[in-house]
């Protein structure tokens, strides 16, 4: 049925050849252009607001069109310029187009939320511009098929997110010193990561002589078949674990996250936890699993080890927190560990499980952050021990937080359960019993910290008696994400199928490579 709908849309789109032909690059070009426009129009408040909303919706539509195109026609390659693999090729397969769609969806929610949440002065200055550039960076990362181009867009995303951390909230509960400190750590560790990324890219280029991912992948696999895989290629593959592990906040590269995610303004925290850390997951799948596949006996054990430590460390950190947003941030660390556990098991099933887990976590965690923003506005503090009884004054938020908590804790019938179960199941199938058991124990800890937080925020003696009047701009995104958290669970078949396809394409990248190399240079 989905295929039918997709092909209908695809046929409709064929009548607009410009969009159809360029739908691969438009999700990058539109926000890039919008980012520039936003600076020009920064004094026209209303106009800017609607323009940004329009841009976000357009990106969502484009992302939707892109994924239908991919569903109908399979992966597509788009050469920027006419140089084939020698130039830069954009590649949209199911993995990248799902990421683009996810980004577009979550970012639209965050944009709507921002109108009410972010200080209007800040909105008028640079917020929209930075936000759009961050989206451009993200989409650029997801769509590029070139390893150096990936680096460039990594920097765009990285810098834009740093700028956004400093956006002012209407009612800030964060000390400016903390923002500086968080951003400083983010910057320093991120820069080291970038340097290491460059080293890995240079090493790979210096050995293989190519920057195109598909081309490198093909050549490395040829080398491997001939039994002369050079050690520096393995080293470069492992170095990418540092790069993406740093973005995804894997132990021992996670140190920046608990300081950055809470200090960022809430919609940005939602983006950071919902999307930006998933860039690490995407990168591991696309770069390490695709290009350095022959080195899998090296990186899979390493990944499994650090993902298990990450799961545990994140959960311990989350239990320790009294700061609501910091608790959520630690929870993100722990949850991303689950995703990486799925990747590190390395079977098609577990990779599919990791993919599904990542998507469900993105929805639930960004919703939780947005909800937390409302709670913090109402309680005027981030300290959960100083909250209490808020269920009476903000029933909507309590329900939303409950749904999010259930999803993260993996309690059915919310989406998170299905992904967690998938992960446990595929893990057991692959024989990773001990890893599954550690994951299970931590899942118990997750129930503890999620519900403990819920209880201390919403139950107990009420400190506030006035009902919280939140605007529709804040409630709408939360409500939509709630609906998705529930429906994605109950109607999760398409996501699971997508996961299967993504995983099979990761395991066997034949289709990806041939699609890219079909683009013939002039």
């Amino acid at each position: 049925m989905i295929l039918q709908i997709a092909s209908t849309i695809d046929n409709l789109l064929l009548s607009v050849p410009f969009i159809y032909n360029n739908v691969d690059v438009l999700p990058i070009a539109v926000p890039l252009l919008a980012g520039a426009l936003m600076i020009l129009f920064r004094h026209r408040i209303k106009f800017q607001k609607y323009l940004n909303l329009a841009v976000s919706i357009i990106i969502l539509i484009l992302a939707f069109l892109l994924i239908t195109k991919v569903i109908v026609n399979g992966p597509s390659a788009y050469a920027v310029g006419e140089f084939g693999k020698y130039g830069i090729v954009l590649v949209a397969d199911l993995l990248s187009s799902s990421m683009v769609l996810l980004t577009a969806f979550i970012s639209l929610m965050c944009v709507i939320y921002s109108y009410e949440y972010i200080e209007s002065e800040s909105l008028n200055q640079s917020y929209y511009a930075l936000f759009n550039l961050m989206i451009a960076g993200l989409n650029g990362i997801f769509l590029t098929g070139d390893i150096f181009n990936l680096y460039v867009f990594f920097e765009i995303m990285f810098l834009a997110s740093i700028g956004l951390i400093f956006a002012n909230e209407k009612l800030s509960s964060t000390l400016i010193e903390h923002k500086f400190e968080g951003a400083f750590k983010y910057l320093v560790l991120g820069m080291i990561g970038s340097t290491i990324m460059l080293i890995a890219i240079i090493t790979t280029y210096g050995t293989i002589g190519s920057l195109n991912m598909a081309d490198i992948a093909l050549k490395i696999s040829i080398l491997n078949q001939e039994g002369r895989l050079p050690w520096q290629i393995v080293a470069a593959g492992l170095l990418f674990i540092i790069v993406f592990g740093n973005k995804a906040a894997l132990f021992p590269l996670h140190y920046w996250l608990p300081d950055v995610h809470p200090t960022a303004p809430t919609p940005i925290s939602a983006m950071l936890s919902g999307i930006l850390i998933k860039v690490g997951v995407y990168g591991i799948l696309r770069i390490v699993f695709l290009i350095y596949a022959p080195a899998s006996s090296y990186y899979l054990p390493v990944l499994m080890l650090i993902s298990l430590i990450t799961i545990v460390v994140g959960a311990i950190g989350a239990i320790a927190q009294t700061d609501l947003k910091r608790m959520l941030a630690y929870s993100s660390i722990s949850q991303i560990g689950y995703v990486f556990l799925g990747l590190s098991i390395g079977t098609a099933g577990s990779i599919a499980a990791a993919f599904v887990y990542m998507i469900f976590h993105a929805v639930a965690k960004s919703m939780l952050f947005l909800t937390a923003g409302g709670v913090i506005h109402h309680a005027e503090t981030r300290d959960m021990t100083k909250m209490g009884g808020l269920i009476k004054t903000m029933p909507f938020y309590s329900a939303a937080f409950m749904i999010g908590a259930m999803s993260i804790a993996g309690i059915p019938p919310i989406a998170g359960f299905f992904s967690k179960m998938y992960l446990l199941k595929t893990g057991l199938e692959a024989g990773a019993t001990i890893a599954v058991f550690i994951a299970l124990i931590t899942a118990f800890a997750t129930i503890y910290y999620m519900f403990n937080s819920w209880i201390s925020i919403f139950w107990g003696e009420s400190l506030k008696n006035k009902r919280f009047h939140s605007s529709h701009e804040m409630m709408l995104p939360i409500a939509i994400l709630c609906v998705f958290a529930i429906l994605l669970g109950i109607l999760c078949n398409p996501v699971f199928e997508a996961g299967d396809i993504v995983a099979s394409q990761i395991i066997d990248p034949e289709l990806y490579i041939s699609t890219v190399l079909k683009v013939i240079p002039r």
């Binding site: 310029g81 930075l130 920057l211 080398l223 520096q232 080293a235 021992p252 140190y255 090296y298 950190g317």
Partner: protein
């Protein structure tokens, strides 16, 4: 009569699957629309909920004839293929029994709540939770898919959590709710793993397929994971049914409104674990492990909980411990199996399952009435209520006598069966067990007898302990009396005419657990059999020890106050209360604050990652890099040596300014290297960048950190950092030195050189790459530059929390420094 009428028709028109789905989803749908209806019906909304449960009950009744004819009532809708989850429902004897109990008690509870709950309460929420719970419970009963069952299972945990915490302002409710959730939902997680493992071994999650296929069962029993699977599933079942070490949540769950306790925590939800044990009986029973784990846990829990019940003074606490003990009866009986006699305990247990629901729910409702009238639940404040509340008194006697196992009530019948099965089981095992098992059963019976007697004695007989309360007490309204009366009538009815209930409810359930088992025969009088003699002993010993009731309770109290640490509750409290501070210690030791440590970790990890392939390759005897690249002119070596010296200087320089100068010297030397390698444009760029950054660097350092600018670091730290920096730098060097295009591959640069003029018309290869071949990258780079400017702009305009708040929170930070707070910024790395 009704049943006889129904018996004659079969499903011609309605698909049984639709009826099953209807039974499950009706309560959910009702819960969903309840707020809308509630706004019209106001405080009468309880009647709507009562109606819903009545409809469910009718629908369950409607299915009974078909089930007792063992028709196949099932249906399946495929759901999530990857997980093996199907929406498959199935009605057999066992599920109908549970569903009938759930929906019938549901009617009683919702009816009763109309009198019990005050109109001032948040009734919509109350009935919503109740309906969701009921729907989930019915879902557990009818699910034929393990994962679907788990889904409803966790929903009951959540609705139980919300109901226990119904009075959400009070500390005790919150404590109880959290405890119940952690234990039942947490136990559920382990059970899920067990289910998944079953699915892996058998290849299906469909319960009916697993349970009825002897091949699959054999497979499971011979699987090496058998013990693990059994333990995991039992953890879930025991957690739900408050057995073994998991009992601790149930007494605290009594903070819920009394109808909720009657419904969830005695009659239905806690039966879910029992239900699961019964469901898996055909799969796991017959093994030694099953007997030891199930019956063993059951017998220990039975004695232990019964014994503790004696000490309680809170009416509901007595009932809570009694529930634990009674559930343990069921567990024990389901554990009674051998290869030869697979079903000795099953029929007794299944019958008791029904009976316990009737008398325990009835007792809870009575307690609700008493507590409602007196305003206390403390048994020491009561007494003599028989005169004031005669009807309540009579009902209480019936229910308590049934629980104590006194004829002619239903509890007597099933207790005799229990005794009988324990004797048989003991004989089967032989040896010392033939005495221990019946004696244990007897002890359990004695304890039950004692606290049942206590209930009647202390509450209704004797002199009133509190005159003031006593004078206010009177018989409750009809709404609160009718449900217990109906339940009491049922107790008597089952006691006097057991055959009717056995025929339609119990026997089909037994058959579905153990197909082809003997028909259950129950009689009030069956001669001086051994079970009857045991009953006589029970009453005699019970009466004897009842004389010393207070002494026993006192000795328990003494023990508890002397050995406070010796309790699972204490352990739980310690674990939960200290979880935050303990994990804060761990987390704080990992997340120390200053970024230096983080960088060190990152670099150490990097070195480790490079070392893996490096050492592997080195020890297998390969060349790490082509030695020919070491052949450089001496002048280059000289230049490189100076660069290294400046780098070391930057690292160990005692003052920031010197370090910065050293660093910039390194930059200029690199520019020189570029020039030497015939790349003048690169060299030019490098010189510009270096100049600019040095000036900025110096300006910022001088402005910001005067103190640190003089003396940045202690010596020892510097050496560690230098070492780690050196090793990581050297590893990177090795990696890069190893490169060199592998033979068959032509690098991209060849293509650029060949095609530059033809494709782009440019001669300068660098320019052509930047603006043509990789122009897209250049767009990105331009964006990065403008972004940097935007960021700086944003940072300058940034503001945080308002001033006065800032002060306040600063102070707090100093006082409560338990979390791994963001510590003060230490910008040594600037």
């Amino acid at each position: 009569m009704l049943l006889a009428l129904l018996y004659d028709r079969s499903f011609d028109s309605v698909d049984p699957f639709i009826i099953l789905a209807f039974i499950i989803f009706l309560p959910f749908a009702a819960a969903f629309v309840l707020p809308i209806i509630g706004s019209k019906m106001k405080e009468k909304i309880g009647w709507f909920a009562t109606l819903i449960s009545f409809i469910c009950f009718l629908a369950v009744l409607y299915l009974i004839p078909n089930v007792s004819r063992e028709e196949n009532l099932s249906g399946i809708i495929p759901w999530i293929n990857e997980l093996g989850i199907n929406f498959s429902l199935r009605a057999d004897g066992l599920s109908i029994l549970l569903a009938a109990i759930v929906s019938f008690i549901g009617i009683m509870i919702m009816f009763y709540s109309n009198g019990y709950m005050s109109p001032k309460d948040d009734l919509n929420r109350y009935y919503q939770y109740l309906l969701v719970f009921m729907g989930s419970m019915l879902g557990i009963a009818f699910s034929d898919n393990l994962i679907l069952l788990f889904l409803f299972w966790e929903l009951t945990s959540i609705s139980s959590f919300l109901l226990i915490g119904y009075y959400r302002d009070t500390e005790k409710s919150i404590y109880g709710a959290r405890k119940a959730l952690l234990i039942t939902a947490g136990g559920g997680l382990f059970m899920l793993l067990g289910f998944i493992a079953i699915g892996l071994v058998t290849g299906t999650y469909e319960i009916s397929q697993i349970v009825s296929n002897p091949e699959i069962i054999l497979n499971l029993k011979s699987s090496p994971d058998f013990a693990g699977i059994l333990i995991l599933i039992l953890i879930g079942a025991f957690a739900k049914s408050a057995q073994g070490i998991f009992y601790i949540w149930l007494p605290n769950a009594m903070e819920a409104p009394t109808p909720v306790s009657a419904f969830l925590h005695s009659a239905t939800m806690v039966k879910a674990g029992i239900f699961l044990i019964a469901r898996f009986h055909p799969v796991f029973s017959g093994t030694d492990l099953w007997f030891y784990l199930v019956s063993g846990t059951g017998m220990i829990t039975m004695i232990f909980a019964g014994y503790i019940a004696i000490r309680q003074t809170d009416l509901k606490a007595i009932l809570a411990y009694s529930t634990i003990s009674q559930l343990a009866y069921l567990v024990t009986m389901y554990g009674f199996t051998t290869e030869i006699l697979p079903t000795i305990g099953v029929s007794a247990a299944t019958f008791h399952l029904l009976n316990h629901s009737t008398f325990k729910a009835c007792l809870f409702l009575i307690v609700g009435i008493v507590a409602h009238e007196l305003g206390t639940r403390d048994i020491r404040e009561m007494g003599g209520l028989a005169k004031k509340m005669p009807i309540t008194f009579i009902i209480a006697i019936i229910a308590a006598a049934s629980m104590a196992g006194i004829p002619p009530f239903n509890g007597y019948l099933s207790k005799e069966l229990f005794y009988e099965s324990s004797i048989i089981m003991g004989q089967q095992i032989g040896g010392i067990w033939s005495a221990i098992i019946p004696m244990t059963a007897l002890a359990g019976g004695v304890l039950t007898f004692m606290y049942s007697l206590r209930l009647i004695h202390k509450v209704f007989l004797g002199k009133p302990a509190n005159e003031e309360m006593y004078s206010k007490a009177h018989e409750p309204g009809a709404i609160m009396l009718i449900p217990p009366i109906i339940l009491a009538a049922l107790i008597v009815l089952i006691g006097l005419f057991p055959d009717l209930f056995i025929e339609y409810l119990v026997q089909p359930a037994i058959n579905s657990i153990a197909p082809g088992s003997e028909k259950l025969h129950v009689q009030l009088w069956h001669g001086f059999t051994r079970p009857f003699i045991m009953t006589v002993f029970t009453i005699a010993i019970g009466l004897f020890f009842y004389m010393k009731y207070d002494e026993i309770a006192e000795s328990q109290n003494r023990f508890c106050s002397n050995y406070k640490w010796f309790s699972l509750n204490n352990l739980y409290d310690k674990a939960v209360n200290n979880a935050r501070s303990e994990s804060a210690k761990i987390s704080g030791s990992i997340q120390r604050g200053p970024p230096t440590g983080y960088i060190i970790w990152m670099l150490v990890f990097t070195i480790f990652l490079i070392l893996i392939p490096l050492s592997g390759f080195y020890f297998s005897g390969g060349n790490l890099f082509d030695p020919s690249i070491m052949r450089l002119p001496a002048s280059e070596y000289f230049l490189l040596a100076i660069i290294v010296i400046t780098a070391i200087g930057a690292a160990i320089a005692p003052k920031y300014i010197v370090a910065i100068m050293s660093l910039s010297a390194m930059g200029y030397l690199v520019a020189l290297l570029y020039a030497y390698l015939k790349a003048p444009d690169l060299a030019m760029t490098q010189v510009c960048v270096e100049t600019l950054s040095t000036i900025l660097f110096l300006a910022v350092i001088m402005k910001l950190r005067k103190k640190e600018a003089v003396n940045p670091d202690p010596r020892s730290d510097q050496i560690t950092k230098l070492l780690i920096g050196f090793i990581s730098g050297f590893s990177f060097l090795l990696v890069i030195m190893a490169t060199g295009i592998v033979e068959p591959f032509v690098p991209f640069s060849e293509y650029f050189i060949e095609n530059a003029i033809e494709l782009t018309g440019g001669r300068n290869i660098v320019n052509v790459i930047v603006v043509d071949f990789r122009g897209y990258d250049t767009i990105g780079e331009i964006t990065v530059l403008s972004l940097a400017a935007l960021c700086v702009y944003n940072i300058i305009r940034a503001k945080g929390m308002k001033k006065e708040k800032k002060k306040e929170s600063k102070e707090e930070e100093e006082s409560t420094n338990i979390t791994d707070n963001i510590t003060d910024i230490v910008p040594e790395e600037i």
